[in-house]
């Protein structure tokens, strides 16, 4: 059999391969040769073959069939064989392999070998991949070598002992006597490895601490100082010395300083020392070396919570790091900057962060924008500043903000009643000629729709008044509708805004009608649906249009960004908009409830079904539906009556689904018993109750209507009215047919706002067709369980 090719020859050949396939072919060929050589138990070339196998293994090819050969090499007498054998063992075997048992014996022999390099190989292998069984079996030999006079072996034995202790901690006892002398070592290598060993031991055993109090070693100090006041105090001086005396012109010096800082942070240091440490990090920030700046920022981030004031002193340096070229440093600097924002520096910091937002790479924008939103919400010095800031974000990084930014801003604007005129002007100016930032355009469209009258009247004290005509406003909304940069959602906002303006503008109603009817044939289903609904509103139900398009009430704060106490602790935001206050259009809902009561009193000319939310014009796109779903405070528009036929026939089911899937209430029934509100002629209506936990004065009632007769009840309409002190919102029913034989139910959700916690009373009116005749009934429900209103 010819001698197999040499390792270097093989490497060179493999490197000539031009494609992956060619390389694979070469390697398969060689592997076959190596396998057959292994089978023939060839001793001469085993070493060469294993070495070649290791090369192929590095290229990613399987080499497990060489595992046993490695063991054979280790058992060989030749040093070359052992060297490659041990190397192969470290690379090819991992801990779980059974071959380990066989290896233990070889290693044991080699640990007692006469040549230190063979002993070294054995120690190194044991210290690298020794399993716990191996460690147990060989710990004795390692301990012996730890006491030898040969420093080459002693340093290796110390590190090997570290591995043994990591694997089998209870073996630590065995090494204790040997460590006594290790600290008096003169040889640097041994001294260093001994420190590693002692550190490992101390980390594992708190009992050992007493022995090593005097050791002047930083890492050791750090572990010793954890949770130990006495030793921490003793170390303060030493650390202060190291911190002030270390040469920092070289990286090693900085590495030592860094370790010192970590130590100071870790032990219970006195505050002066901690400030010193933070100042070291502050100096690091000015270093030319980006790596040092990076570790400084990382460490400051870790400590900013505990040593806030000390870190605050380096604020300007940290903010300067926002301009760094390195993105990793920029990111840290950004995180740290946000951590440093507080009520006192908010204006200055936001200026820097907004500038950063403007100039930074796209990957930062989303995080930076939401960071700014959060900080602004927490520390805004005034509402106007808050609105300005959010608007700045939307104009500079509009397309990067997260989805919830739009409803959040709308909510903020709605709740700042005195800012409406100002805001709508600013937004109008912002979108003049630039519709590219979708979230901005959406907010602007919403506000223009809502406050268009304020815009046209030009009443604004803070801004210099602008002259805008109604047509100009409509022009801009129409161009948003047309623009190919607008998304479907944005168009929905624009169309709804135009619709709302029909009640706010005086002389452009015809133009609005035209626009709305054009979009009745839009290919965008969502838009078309809206347009058709609005069109119907113009044509059939024009008398209700103004009530439906009423201004939105103040919205209740939805706590999405953590618990409310965050807001309270700052004391800088006015709590007013966050609390539930009666909407500005206060009298409205009660008067409508009155109307309804009147209606119920016998005046039944208009068939009324309170399916208002779905046909409500404000529902432009999913976002707004979400918004509505989140309103716990029932305002007038929601309860406003709307025609029964329109929603039930023309509403595609998905819209209803979208609504009924809203999280209307946050807690599942907390044990409020349900009642039977009505039971007559086979029709039974049950009420189940839930109390909202965001607003305790809201009771959510789910009605279930079932039919025990043998025929379906069709065109079923449920209506309800409550006394003036309550407010009521009826959501749309699940269907209008109550199937016969109790085979199904209609469910409908009623929300009752009961701010004075009075006893609940309700009048209900039922109309349906049964057995070919129209049925109608009135009833009063007085048996509400006390838990449902108290």
């Amino acid at each position: 059999m010819p001698a197999p090719i040499r390792l270097r020859e093989l490497i060179r050949t493999i490197r000539t391969a031009r494609t992956q396939a060619e390389e694979r072919e070469m390697i398969q060929k060689e592997c076959a040769a190596i396998r057959s050589s292994f089978r023939e138990e060839d001793n001469t070339y085993r070493c060469r073959n294993v070495a070649k196998l290791l090369y192929m293994h590095m290229l990613g090819y399987p080499a497990h069939f060489g595992q046993l050969e490695c063991l054979k090499l280790i058992a060989s007498q030749k040093f070359t064989d052992k060297r490659i054998g041990y190397l192969g063992a470290m690379l090819l075997l991992d801990e779980r392999q059974d071959v380990h048992l066989l290896m233990t014996n070889c290693i044991k022999n080699d640990l007692n070998h006469s040549t230190q390099y063979v002993q070294g190989l054995a120690l190194c292998t044991l210290g690298c991949m020794g399993s716990s069984e191996m460690c147990r079996d060989l710990a004795g030999e390692v301990e012996k070598l730890l006491k030898t006079s040969n420093s080459y072996l002693r340093k290796k034995a110390a590190l090997c002992a570290v591995h043994v202790i990591r694997k089998v901690p209870e073996l630590m006892e065995m090494f204790l006597p040997a460590t006594k002398n290790l600290l008096n070592e003169k040889n640097h290598g041994v001294l260093h490895t001994s420190v590693v060993l002692l550190t490992e031991m101390c980390e594992r055993s708190p009992d050992m601490l007493a022995h090593f109090r005097k050791v002047r070693i930083l890492r050791l100090l750090r572990i010793l100082g954890r949770n130990d006041d006495d030793s921490s105090e003793a170390m303060n001086d030493i650390l202060a010395q190291v911190a002030t005396n270390t040469e920092t012109s070289k990286n090693v010096g900085n590495a030592i300083l860094y370790e010192t800082v970590l130590t100071i942070m870790d032990i219970k240091s006195e505050s002066g020392l901690r400030v010193l440490a933070i100042n070291i990090l502050g100096r690091f920030l000015l270093n030319n070396d980006k790596n040092i700046r990076y570790v400084a920022l990382t460490s400051l981030l870790k400590t900013v919570q505990t040593d806030h004031n000390a870190v605050q002193r380096h604020r300007s340096t940290i903010v300067d790091c926002l301009k760094d070229l390195d993105v990793s440093i920029k990111r840290r600097a950004m995180e740290l900057s946000f951590a440093l924002v507080n009520g006192n520096n908010i204006r200055g910091m936001m200026k820097e962060l907004l500038y950063f937002l403007d100039s930074c790479e796209p990957e930062f924008k989303a995080d930076c924008a939401s960071g700014i939103f959060l900080a602004a919400e927490k520390y805004a010095p005034s509402k106007r500043w808050h609105i300005d800031t959010i608007m700045r974000v939307l104009t500079t990084a509009g397309s990067y903000v997260r989805d919830d930014a739009v409803p959040n801003l709308i909510q903020l604007i709605t709740n700042s009643v005195e800012m409406h005129a100002y805001t709508v002007q600013r937004l109008y100016k912002a979108i003049l000629g630039d519709y590219s930032q979708q979230p901005l355009v959406q907010v602007a469209a919403w506000c223009i729709g809502e406050y268009g009258d304020l815009l046209v009247s030009g009443q604004c004290e803070e801004e210099e008044p602008i002259q805008v005509t109604e047509d100009e406003v409509l022009d801009i909304l129409e161009s948003v509708l047309i623009s190919n940069m607008s998304t479907s959602v944005t168009r929905g906002y624009a169309l709804t805004a135009i619709m709302k303006l029909s009640t706010r503008f005086t002389c452009t109603v015809n133009r609005i009608k035209k626009v709305v009817s054009i979009y009745g044939s839009s290919i965008d289903v969502e838009l078309q649906q809206r347009a058709v609904e609005y069109n119907a509103l113009f044509k059939k139900y024009d008398h209700m249009r103004s009530a439906l398009l009423e201004r939105m009430p103040v919205m209740e704060k939805v706590t999405t960004n953590g618990p409310t106490e965050i807001v309270q602790t700052n004391g800088e935001t006015e709590p007013a908009p966050l609390e539930t206050k009666p909407p500005p259009s206060g009298p409205q809902p009660t008067s409508q409830a009155n109307d309804l009561l009147d209606l119920l009193g016998g005046n039944d000319i208009t068939p009324v079904i309170p399916t208002a939310p779905t046909s409500k014009p404000a529902s432009a796109g999913g976002e707004l539906l979400d918004l509505l779903g989140d309103i716990n405070l029932t305002g007038a528009p929601a309860a406003a009556p709307a025609p029964a036929s329109v929603p039930q026939i023309s509403q595609p089911p998905f819209l209803l689904d979208g609504l009924s899937s809203q999280p209307l209430f946050n807690d599942i029934a907390t044990g409020i018993p349900s009642i039977t509100a009505y039971s007559k002629n086979g029709l039974k209506i049950e009420f189940t109750f839930e109390r909202s936990n965001t607003n305790p004065s809201v009771t959510v009632i789910t009605i279930q209507a079932s039919n025990s007769t043998e025929l379906d009840m069709t065109d079923f309409v449920f209506q309800a009215a409550v006394p003036k002190t309550f407010q009521l919102q009826l959501l749309s029913p699940s269907s209008s047919i109550v199937p016969a034989f109790n085979t199904g139910t209609i469910t409908q959700v009623i929300k009752v706002l009961n701010p004075q916690k009075q006893q609940l009373r309700m009048r209900i009116k039922l109309t349906y067709n049964h057995k070919g005749s129209a049925m109608q009934d009135l009833a009063e429900v007085n048996n509400f369980p006390p838990q449902s209103w108290q």
């Binding site: 001698a3 270097r8 779980r96 210290g127 640097h188 290598g189 090693v252 040092i292």
Partner: protein, 242 residues
């Protein structure tokens, strides 16, 4: 300083062997790792000049073997621990070819491959201006590029990144001294030597010796032992062939 001639190269001399035939990353592989080794600008800023720039204060003193506590090397004096637990060290080329892998924690072959592939992608995607550290999975990764080769260490949360960078640099210095102006091809063709040096320098992720001299001496001696093995056999071989 060792000269090329005196270096033991038992399995055929490296300079003759390397570089023959076409190969993909040949040009890159030839460039001297030590080119970037001499001035490590990121390491020491202004202080870096000459081969021992960074190490002057430490290495020369420790190599002088002065045992008195007064002139201990700076690192030992401060008692700085090199690592708490290094997880692994990788060497790979700019083309994403693995050149060396050392694992200090038992990891299955499959997992190793996955981690190597993933980490290579992350590191190779970094721009030159970026700093040498990154957080990856639950580890901190410290990497540095020397010519066409990336040296990459994964360490744990408590570890000192700066010192890991020094450690990488020292390993490169060791390779450079051993091979004499080392380049990627040296490491490809003599990968086992690179492993031997690493194992003599680090064990379980901890530094065994702060002195370059003693590491290289041990390697040299072991190489000599290997030569003793080989020489009688090669005579026999020749006779057999004759």
């Amino acid at each position: 300083m060792r000269s090329r001639g005196s270096r033991p190269l038992p399995q055929g001399s490296r300079p003759r062997n390397r570089g023959a035939g076409a190969c993909w990353p040949r040009e890159a592989a030839r460039s001297r790792v030590s080119k970037t080794l001499c001035p490590p600008p990121a390491l020491s800023g202004a202080a870096a000049c000459g081969e021992s720039g960074v190490w002057e204060g430490i290495v020369s003193r420790s190599e002088s073997g002065c045992p008195a506590s007064g002139c201990r090397p700076a690192l030992s004096e401060a008692g700085l621990r090199w690592e708490s637990q290094m997880r692994f060290m990788l060497l790979f080329s700019r083309q994403g070819k693995l050149r060396l892998q050392k694992w200090y924690l038992a990891t299955s072959d499959k997992e190793r491959k996955k981690m190597v592939r993933e980490l290579m992608q992350v590191v190779l995607a970094r721009k030159p201006k970026m700093c040498s550290f990154l957080e990856w999975r639950d580890l901190k990764v410290v990497y540095k590029r020397y010519a066409s080769l990336y040296f990459c260490c994964a360490i744990e949360g408590q570890d000192n990144e700066l010192i890991t960078l020094e450690l990488i640099h020292r390993y490169v210095e060791l390779l450079d001294k051993y091979f004499g102006s080392v380049c990627e091809l040296d490491i490809i063709f003599n990968f086992e030597k690179a492993y031997f040096i690493l194992d003599e320098f680090l064990m379980g992720g901890d530094v065994q010796d702060t002195s370059k001299k003693s590491v290289l001496k041990a390697i040299e001696q072991a190489d000599l032992l290997q030569e003793e093995d080989e020489s009688p056999r090669s005579v026999l071989e020749e006779m057999g062939l004759a």
